[in-house]
Assembly symmetry: C2
Homo-oligomer: 326 residues x 2
């Protein structure tokens, strides 16, 4: 006699198997609360056909700042630490200004006091007159071997676990995720695919002048001194418009340099979501906002309420900060 | 008695149904010949898992020039015709130089003699101090109403049917298709999605300086005079590297301005394909190459053989030039 399964039981088994999938929490490292539910409600409404806030797939664009938003940025931007480390290894004759010598000695205060002009001076030591290929090989080498002074972690292990979950969740729901950062384009591309699942063509960043050289056989692109694009403040929405050409639906940042990007995104017709990571977590990371020389958030705090931007309270909203160390 | 179908017959029916799908010609407007078979062989080998020339999906990048490659460019670039038409409608006080007055009178010879500096002068009349939104609305209006002097067609009906097929074929096989053109980014975005199926973020072009203005409520991006990026010659591979970050596998162009882009593509390790459209068709279009002020192809003809680039012989390789008029 052939065994048969009662239909009701079969249905129950199937529902039992499906339920965990349907109910799985897409953001397990986010504490239950207003921010988490706002994000999930927004994603669900913009991706549900027939919903008033439905957004067609090609318009589902989400832009993320990098430093302080997707990974840590204290005590100094990690790319700046790379510059200091490499300057310290530079031959004496390359250290031909007081600022370069200060950088070689790890004198962060003097380096930060030099502002963006000083930064250009330092980048000329470490980021210029080198092919893009060689530069990226050197950055990869540094990322593999350098360790953060406070955590002892590799820098790529200081990406935020809750943001990795948000990026994956958005992509699973048909969003295209982009980085829009003041950091260097070629620097970020060395790890963004592996760390964030973000492809090279979805990264917008600061860029140096590049020179094309061709000996007739092997063309090479050389990074030269001089900044072609410093991707911060109003330059961010301009670069988004130029690179993507579609106004984002979601923008996520953490500093005043992200205010124009959030402004542009949330001034759009239709549904939009602006998120600002507020670094409130002095226990697991560093608590900072209005007065910080790195990642200062002052104007953004003032505007958030009127603009309807959500402030992510890192200490309370995030159950986990970094991924398990490998 | 239950009717049964003999297995062999069933198989034959299935094969009969499947055969037209499997054998469908992806490039019906291309004449049988070396160029067509080279393209199809290349696409098949780069997309067949296990093949020596297999290229993973994320690396399947194909870049196309626009003017003279995806649509016609004679007697003058269509965007230049837009500029002339709008200059002719400009108030007298805007025509404050001899070149602007020549443009308003449709004196193409004088306009072309002005070179790129003269072009900048004309763009200041029609492409500057206007919001991107308003500019694109005006371009859409022009594209809808203007007709080509020789063909009487709307300009968007002068896209090349064989290239539409190639774009679709490549995308069906997992390639990402990009435009990399000396034409204006914002100009091209007004029609590239509809005409070519190419999304705004896959268009690289020349760009003016853009200014961010924000009255606190409604931010606006204004096109200003001055060129931020003139996307021709060596600027093309540099822009490809910056925008995409992956060396293309396929590059298609038609003029010497595309030579560095093809050089970069075909200097890559692994499989690569360089195609140059050779305008040999004086019957259906215009026959031109080495001496043409528009879309000149001189260096490219000299290099093609040594570089292994395929010359597409428009008169012989393309059975159809333009799509059926709507």
């Amino acid at each position: 006699m052939k065994a048969t399964t009662p239909p009701l039981l079969l249905t129950s088994v199937c529902l039992g198997l499906l339920a965990p999938l349907a109910m799985a929490d897409p953001l397990p490292s986010w504490n239950q609360g207003d921010n988490k539910s706002t994000i999930i409600d927004f994603v669900e409404s913009t991706t549900t056909p027939g919903h008033d806030d439905f957004v067609p797939r090609e318009a589902r664009i989400a832009v993320f700042d990098n430093d302080g938003t997707l990974w840590s940025e204290q005590p100094i931007y990690f790319q700046l630490q790379y510059t200091l480390d490499r300057t310290a290894e530079a031959p004496d004759e390359a250290l031909d200004t007081p600022l370069k010598r200060a950088a070689a000695e790890g004198d962060i205060e003097t380096v930060l006091a030099g502002g963006s002009q000083g930064l250009d001076e330092l980048l000329s030591v470490t980021h210029s007159d080198i092919s893009i290929v060689d530069y990226q090989a050197d950055v990869r080498d540094w990322l593999e071997n350098a360790r953060h002074p406070a955590t002892g972690r590799a820098y790529t292990n200081m990406v935020y676990q809750p943001m990795l979950e948000l990026l994956s969740y958005l992509r699973d729901e048909g969003y295209q995720t982009y980085i829009v950062s003041g950091g260097g384009l070629h620097f970020m591309r060395t790890f963004a695919s592996d760390s964030y699942g973000i492809a090279p063509q979805n990264i917008i960043g600061s860029t140096a002048e590049v020179e094309w050289t061709d000996d007739g056989d092997t063309p090479v692109m050389m990074k030269r001194s001089g900044t072609l694009w410093y991707d911060d403040g109003p330059a961010k929405p301009i670069a988004i418009e130029r690179h993507i050409g579609v106004r984002p639906v979601i923008a996520v940042g953490n500093s005043d340099g992200d205010v124009p990007m959030l402004t542009w995104t949330t001034a759009g017709d239709g549904p939009h979501l602006g998120l600002l990571v507020h670094h409130t977590d002095g226990e697991r990371e560093v608590a900072y906002d209005r007065d910080s020389a790195i990642g200062g958030l002052d104007q953004g705090l003032d505007l958030a309420d009127a603009k309807g931007w959500q402030l992510i309270d890192m200490a309370n909203d995030w159950l986990t900060l970094y991924p398990e160390a490998p």
